[in-house]
């Protein structure tokens, strides 16, 4: 059961590689495949809610020797969210991406990406995690360059270079950590670190990991590659990246922090909170100064990632639960705003706020589809962004860290400002009159509405969902549960 989220995408990918000629088949099959993936992940989530953390020792090699697959609630929540986003993207893509790109391998590559992402969520082995990261990144390298326009090539070179360097940091960290402890199994590592107390040079290895993951997650000061490359590919690809890739980095940080930070906790807490504050502030300020919809949204990813890391830095059950809820909300809302931006592009042929205008009057539907996720990101009740921020800020006050909490509230204000900026420029202001009137694909509208509906539902059912995230947070805060489940103690 546990291998299904990895094996299924692999199977789907192979099928799609061999059926590249039949475009219609690819479109329908991909949709069906993502629905299956979502069902499997949802089943896993329910199973874990009932029976606790599930583990699988691959090839029956017991824990520290073989590769262990572990799914706890946090992993399961992430699996479900990612596969749901994949459904939406698969409905959206045929209506947006040109035929050339679609038959050049867009579908198989997307499943390669999903396999990597799911693998990273499930694995319990640190080197295996690196391999899944590479599966995910290599697929994303090709996806971002797919089509090969000059602009895309410029973006891809930056993207490939910086991600390769980050992977190098990751591997170097693994090497040093293995030299220090002699094990690669995450639970076993955590156990050994707890037994050993202080290990010299350990913080060096952990810092290498931190750099690697903050590059992937887009934290200050390593985020510049993100807005420089994310706006270049067609919008469904950007939306898929925005919804999944950076969050894998955050997920890994949660996992590592919970398992490996036992020594020097004061330093790490302060360090992560400072980084979180800088990330959200600088991200949102840079977003406010942009005029391309995709760039505003890209800078926003960074600012929002700061919130999640803030929840991690506080490291109480309440704040982690808030961060997990916020992560789910952000994956949905962020993807949704990008897709809504794509609708604008189909309608008017531009992403530039200076030339756009009048969309509220001419297409109220498009305006509504942007309004819902944008207000959610800005944190207006009863949308999920409000509850996410509320849980985080409540966690901050409970932990007594007033400074970072104040920063978070202030950044929320700026977020509202930059969302209102898109709203005013693209939808509210008078039509400029020079734009072509493109036809918006029905599939694109349908999928964006589906996602917007999911956002609203996440807000309405904030109570039950936050119960699950609180339980997931408990597993993160008390890593003994994870360690014992894997090592069978």
């Amino acid at each position: 059961m546990l291998v299904l989220p990895i094996i299924l995408p692999l199977f789907f990918m192979v099928v799609l590689i061999f059926t590249r000629r039949w475009l219609a088949f690819q479109q329908h099959f991909s949709l069906l495949a993502t629905v299956i993936l979502t069902l499997v992940s949802a089943f896993l989530l329910m199973d874990i809610q009932e029976n606790g953390i599930a583990t699988l020792q691959v090839g029956s090699w017991i824990a520290p020797y073989g590769i262990t697959l572990v799914v706890d609630l946090l992993s399961a929540i992430m699996l479900v969210t990612v596969s749901f986003i994949a459904i939406v993207i698969m409905i959206y893509s045929p209506g947006f991406i040109d035929k050339g790109r679609q038959s050049a391998g867009y579908y198989p590559l997307s499943f390669g990406l999903l396999m990597g992402v799911n693998g990273a969520f499930i694995t319990g082995d640190i080197f295996n995690l690196y391999v899944w990261y590479e599966v995910m990144l290599t697929s994303s390298f090709v996806l971002i360059a797919l089509g090969g326009s000059a602009e895309q090539l410029r973006g891809s070179i930056k993207y490939v270079t910086i991600n390769f360097i980050a992977s190098i940091f990751f591997v170097a960290g693994i090497g040093i950590l293995y030299g220090l402890t002699g094990t690669l199994n995450m639970a076993d590592l955590a156990y050994k670190l707890r037994a050993a107390g202080h290990i010299p040079y350990l913080d060096g290895a952990l810092m290498l990991f931190f750099i690697a993951f903050s590059v992937k997650a887009g934290l200050f000061p390593f985020f510049f590659w993100l807005p420089a490359s994310y706006h270049t590919p067609p919008i469904p690809i950007t939306a898929l990246f925005a919804g999944t890739l950076t969050k894998v980095g955050i997920y890994t940080m949660f996992r590592f922090y919970s398992l490996f930070i036992v020594d020097n906790t004061m330093f790490w807490k302060a360090f992560i909170l400072v980084i979180a504050g800088l990330t959200m502030t600088i991200g949102v300020l840079m977003a406010a100064s942009q005029y391309d919809i995709r760039k505003i949204l890209s800078f926003h990813i960074i600012s929002q990632v700061g919130y999640m890391v803030m929840g991690l830095g506080l490291f109480t059950a309440g704040s982690i639960a808030g961060a997990i809820y916020f992560m789910v909300h952000n994956m949905l809302s962020k993807t949704n705003t990008f897709l809504a931006g794509g609708l604008v592009y189909q309608r008017s042929g531009s992403y530039d706020l200076k030339v756009l205008g009048g969309l509220y009057k001419s297409n109220p539907m498009l305006a509504l589809l942007f309004f819902v996720p944008a207000m959610s990101l800005a944190g207006i009740p009863p949308l999920p962004g409000f509850f996410g921020k509320f849980f985080l800020i409540k966690g901050g006050f409970e932990a007594g860290d007033y400074l970072i909490t104040g920063v978070a509230i202030l950044v929320g204000l700026f977020t509202l400002f930059s969302m209102v900026k898109i709203w005013n420029e693209a939808y509210w202001k008078k039509e400029t009159g020079t734009l072509p009137k493109g036809k918006v694909s029905r599939r694109a509208i349908a999928s964006t509405s589906l996602l917007a509906l999911a956002v609203v539902l996440l807000g309405i059912f904030a109570g039950p969902v936050s119960d699950i995230t609180l339980e997931a947070a408990r597993q993160v805060v008390l890593p003994d549960l994870y360690i014992n489940a894997v090592l069978g103690r």
Partner: protein, 113 residues
Amino acid sequence: MLFLFALLIGLLYGAAVYLLLRRNIFKLVLGLIFLGHATNLLLFVAGGLTSGFPSFIRNIPGEVEKMADPLPQALILTAIVISLGVTAFALVLVYRFYSVTKTVDLDELSENE
């Protein structure tokens, strides 16, 4: 031996950073390759250096403890394959960039249209 390895790794990292900071885009790829090699060596050294006892070749009971650790070697093998794949992709990407823009200058990457 350890000192020599440390020197070599440092040299490779230094060369890699130097190449990454060049303006020529092919040197960028070269820098990435160097970076990969330096890290593979780092992995090898961090796993502990053992001379004269290759793993699994001489299976004498009681001498297993002295045997070289096979795991870092397996990790390096995986890392080499991965960096080979990424390098191949990066080369194609850079070549494509060259054929589209007719330049190897990294300054062309900035977007002041």
